[in-house]
Structures are given as C-alpha cells and as structure tokens.
C-alpha cells in the first residue's frame, strides 16, 4: 500500500484510476468514448493492464470470465449512452450468477443530465434491474469512497454487479479526497452466521440420515468451499450432486460424485435427489431448472444453506433453512459430524439404470460429422487436468456440462441464470487473461459464435492461446430440439446459414481448422491445445443430434 501524503489534488478521473489501483485491480476491460475520455487519459499511465474489447457486451463478458475463473472482481470501463446500453446483457449475465463485477461508465455532465443530451442515457435506471447496486457520482470528491464501496458491495454478501456512473464534469473537477482506509456502509451488513442451535440441528440431521445427498451449487465455488464440501462428503459418506454452476466442486472421478442434477442432469443424480432422506443443498438457489428435478415430496427433506436469505424458500419450501457462508458453516459443524459410510446407499446412487439412447455419445458418427461427446472427451484428454472450460449457451453447453471430466473449481465458466448467448467467446478471453497457467477452451455453438465473433480479434491481438471449439450444426440446436419435442417438428427460424468459420477466424488472425472426420479429431484438438496462439476448431455436428 502506498500513501498520498497530505492532500494531493488531482482531477476526478485520476482519483478514479488511483481508486481502482488501490482496490487491487489488475486488469480493466473497456471501450472508449467522449464521456470517458478523461478517464482513459489516466488509464494510459495506470498500474493495471487495459484490454480493449470490440463491443461493450464483449468487454463485460470478458470481465465476467476473468472474475469467474480467478475469484476476483472483474472491472469494465465504457462510455455513456450506447456504450452503457451495450453492456446490459453482460451485466445481467454476471449479476444473475452472482459474479463480482464493477462497471465504471461515463455520463454527460451533471447540468446536462435530463436534457436528452448527446449520448445521454439514464444509467442508474437502465442498470437497476441487472445490478446489485449502482451509484451516480455527484462530485469528484465522492469518487475515491464510491470506488471503495463499489468493490466492497460487489464482493460481500452474495457477490454481484455494481455500476458507477461518473458525469464528465466530475471526472474533470479537482479533488483532494482520499481513498478510505476501510469501508463502512451504514445499512449494508451482509455477514450472516448460523446460530449454535442451527449448527446442532444440522449435525443431528446429518448424523441421523441414512440416505443423505449433498446438492452443491455455484455458491460453493464462490465461497471457495469446494474442498470443505468434499471433506464433509467423505467423512459422512454422502454422495454429491452438483448444479451446473456447481460443476468443479467435486472431481468427476471421486467415488462420491454423481454428476449434475436438474432437468438437464444425469438420471442417476436426479434419482439420488428423489430417493434421499436428507438433501443438503449448499449454495444453490433452486432456480426453476434445478427445482423442477426435485419432487415436491422431497422439499421437507431439504436443508438449504445459502448466504442470501432471500434464496431460501423462494422457489422451494424447504424443511430447514440456514443463512450462512457455506465455508464458515462447514468449518463450524465439522467437529459435530460423526464419520459414516452409507455404503449401500452410495452403491445404489451410483447404479446406472436404463439411461435411454444417447446420440450425443454414439460411438460411430455419421459420415462427415463428429460426435459431441467425442469432442468433449478429446479436449479433456488433451488438456490433462489443467482445463478452464468456458461455454456459450445451447446444446453444446449441455454436452460440455455433462461430459467434461476433472474440472477444478472455477474452471467451468458458463452463463447459467441468464443463459446469454454470446457469452462464450469473450468470457474465454477474460479467462485466458486471468489464468495464463491453464488451457482455456471455449465451447460455442454456431449461433452464439455469431453474436460475439468480433472479439476473436482480441485473442489474436493479444496472442492468447485460447481454443475456440465451434459446434457447427447449422441450427440453433437447443431451440430446434424444443421444436422437435414440443411442437411436432414444426421447425421454424432455427436453421440458418453460418459463415465459413475457418475463413472468418483467418480474417481475424486466428488459425481456423475444420474437423469433419472423427478419425482426425484427437490430433486436431491436441495440436490446437499445444499451440501458443488462438485456434478455432470448427467441428461438424449432425443437426439431428439431441442434447
């Protein structure tokens, strides 16, 4: 930490950049414009790295991918008006999944606000529904404290998005305000602890259960509690099902891992949730996707632990709710948990029944196509356990979620709650910047790839060794699949012409390779992962394959 002795006077823009430095920011993703140009002038000489995206949505998804894969807040910087409106999907995706992210955006000068000035937008109004909190700065003097508060709010309690709207005159005005030594917010005290009665009751329930299940969600990853959950599972002999956001909480080869639950999950995982006499739901929020897979009769058998009081009993009326940090709670309850094994139950949970046909895992593909599971398997083999898997939204996302193996915490990055197509490519770029020690592979559909393809050039510009795997099936697969199942195969608006992704990649300076022969898949994937530059693999998928 360095100090500003006495009252150092500088402009608001400089104070803002110093504030970001003091908050420990190492990378900012952004895009310039007239109403942030003063801030950009100070970013030029900042201690943090600046990454120029090609669209503000891309910038926010990059910051999001950075935050999810690293466990530190992501930061984006954009201009007013269209710069800000372009961020909305990105903010919503991050906020829905509880990702800590701070967006700084320029605004027209205070005295022009409300006049429909050039590039004016009601930022606080527009971002309210996609953020945890937002600030409109009213003077340069407020800037350092606002930055500190924004990072505090983004990272305490359930993490989320905080937006700081900074009018141009406040960026230019002089201020001597200092960055606060600590943040104290009068009304926001999100720390919650379980009472000892709750801890005792939890221990009693776990010790008495004969068919317990742990259902681990994104909150486990966010709380860095994965190892604690696995330790509890082993001590008390409890099989673990995860939600999609909880992928990575337990290794897929762990004998207690049952894979993903929910409507797109493994049948064995869903059966276990349905047959359990205790469902220990940790850091899940029971959205409609996860709740639907859990029969109503099981609700009373759920113990729901989450740091967000409003997540408990929101969609599912649970038997026992505890508002607490998962990691804290597991540390507290540990000494009261008796070792157990539940061998018979674990064996029963692991039994695979009649899972039906799976054409995404067929052993021999149709001519000219590769099988989705073979693609995912091939990536896992080539990345040898140091994989950060980023996905877009669609069938390929479900295939990745289902077939990926040995995913570590924070190494499955996907837009769960919002399901925002266009997330994959930029989020993978953010992840590659956050985790240069890992192999970052993006799994994207040919639909979603067209939403944020412009960011490929950023990977080329920065020489980031990301592998973009485009599942080219010529359709908006997941929607087409719904038309097939629920609309009597009346297909409409789901088959589309796509660009030649190999050429498109080439135009952006990314090496493109098409794989239409499964015999060549492993070699192509292994080579792409070895390459110290971005590679796009267009894998040809039969459009009839269901997820």
């Amino acid at each position: 930490m360095w100090r500003y002795g006495g009252a150092v006077v500088r402009c608001g823009a400089k104070a803002l950049v110093e504030g970001l430095e003091r908050a420990g920011v190492e990378v900012v993703f952004g895009y310039p414009g007239g109403n942030v140009i003063d801030i950009f002038d100070c970013v030029r000489t900042a201690k943090f790295r600046f990454v120029l995206g090609r669209h503000e949505q891309g910038c926010v998804h990059m910051a999001d991918g950075y935050a999810r894969s690293l466990g530190r807040p992501g930061v984006a910087l954009v201009t007013s008006g269209p710069g800000l409106t372009n961020t909305i999907t990105g903010l919503g995706a991050a906020n829905m999944d509880g990702v800590p992210l701070v967006l700084v955006c320029g605004q027209v000068p205070l005295d022009e606000m409300g006049t429909d000035a050039f590039q004016e937008a009601d930022t606080t109004g527009l971002t309210r529904a996609v953020s945890k909190h937002n600030f409109l700065v009213k003077s340069a003097d407020e800037i350092p404290e606002t930055i500190a508060q924004a990072f505090y709010i983004a990272t305490h309690g359930k993490p989320g998005v905080v937006v700081i709207d900074v009018p141009r005159d406040c960026q230019r005005a002089q201020t001597a305000a200092k960055y606060p030594a600590r943040v104290s917010l009068r009304a926001y005290h999100p720390e919650r602890f379980a009472s000892s009665a709750q801890v005792n009751r939890l221990a009693r329930l776990v010790n008495a259960a004969r068919r317990p299940i742990i259902y681990a969600g994104g909150g486990v990853i966010a709380a860095e509690a994965s190892a604690d959950v696995v330790a509890l599972a082993h001590k008390a002999g409890i099989p673990v099902v995860t939600t999609m956001m909880g992928i990575g909480a337990i290794d897929s080869d762990d004998p207690l891992s049952l894979g993903m639950g929910g409507i797109h999950g493994e049948p064995a995982a869903c059966r276990a949730l349905a047959d359990a006499d205790l469902v220990l739901a940790l850091g899940v929020r029971f959205n409609d996707r996860t709740a639907a897979a859990l029969p109503r009769r099981q609700w009373a058998r759920i113990v729901h632990v989450d740091c967000d009081a409003s997540a408990i009993n929101r969609n599912v009326q649970v038997g026992f709710g505890i508002v607490a940090d998962v990691k804290d709670l597991l540390a507290t309850v540990d000494s009261r948990i008796r070792p157990a094994s539940h061998d018979e139950w674990v064996t029963r949970c692991r039994q695979t029944g009649d899972e039906g046909d799976c054409d995404a895992c067929a052993t021999s593909p149709k001519r000219g196509y590769v099988v989705p599971k073979a693609v995912v398997d091939s990536v896992c083999r080539a990345a040898k356990g140091s994989l950060v898997a980023v996905t877009d939204v669609g069938q390929h996302q479900l295939w990745a979620a289902r077939y990926l193996r040995h995913v570590r915490p924070r190494c499955f990055v996907s837009s769960g709650g919002m399901g925002a197509m266009g997330f994959g490519i930029p989020a993978a770029i953010g992840a590659a910047i956050a985790r240069p020690d890992m192999k970052v592979v993006a799994f994207v559909g040919d639909g979603g790839a067209q939403m944020t393809a412009e960011e490929l050039v950023v990977a080329a510009e920065l020489g980031l060794p990301v592998v973009f795997v485009v599942f080219a099936n010529g359709t908006l697969g997941l929607v087409r699949q719904m038309q097939k199942a629920d609309f009597g195969s009346r297909f409409f608006a789901t088959t589309m012409r796509s660009p030649d992704f190999v050429k498109l990649a080439g135009a952006y300076g990314v090496r493109g390779v098409r794989v239409s022969d499964q015999a060549r898949l492993d070699a192509a994937v292994a080579k792409a992962i070895r390459t110290r530059a971005p590679v796009l693999l267009e894998v040809c998928i039969d459009p009839e394959t269901l997820a």
Binding site: K138, L185, A187, A309, S310
Partner: protein
C-alpha cells in the same frame, strides 16, 4: 411459478432507508418489477435527516410478501424493514 392459489392480503411494509438519490426507485422497482402492485406509497423524513421512512402497502400472499421483505433487506441502502398485515 405461482401455481397454488393462496390468499392475497394487504401488507404494510415500513422501511427505514438511507436518504439518497435512487433509493426510492430501487425499492419501487424491486416490488413492481416482479409484477406486484403497490397500493399506496408514502415517503417522508424522519428526525434523522439522513434517514427516510417509506410506508408501502402491497397486495400479495404471505409467501410473496416474505420474499419482498427479504429482498428489500438485501438492498444496500435499506436500514430496516418491518411488516404487518392490514
């Protein structure tokens, strides 16, 4: 999904909030954005000039109103929320 029919009643929420720009909009947005109607809304000062008091009557089931209260308590500028049936 709101499937099961439960009785809707009017509840009065008393909120003490920091007197800052945007707080009223966030609170109203939180309730109306979820499709619930605010029947009456009264905002006024308290003896402490930095704190405002909001009195909000909403029509909803006990479950929905409980949710609203919990979400209001999550708001960064909300100091306290109490509720009683009208």
């Amino acid at each position: 999904m709101k499937t099961k029919k439960a009785i809707e009643e009017t509840y009065r929420l008393n909120c003490f909030v920091e007197n800052r720009p945007g707080v009223l909009a966030r609170i109203v947005g939180l309730i109306s954005g979820r499709g619930y109607n605010i029947q009456t809304l009264h905002v006024g000062p308290t003896e402490d000039g930095t704190v405002s008091r909001m009195r909000i009557d909403v029509l909803g089931t006990a479950r929905v109103v409980d949710q609203i209260i919990l979400q209001l308590r999550n708001c960064v500028n909300v100091i306290e929320v109490t509720c009683r049936k009208r």
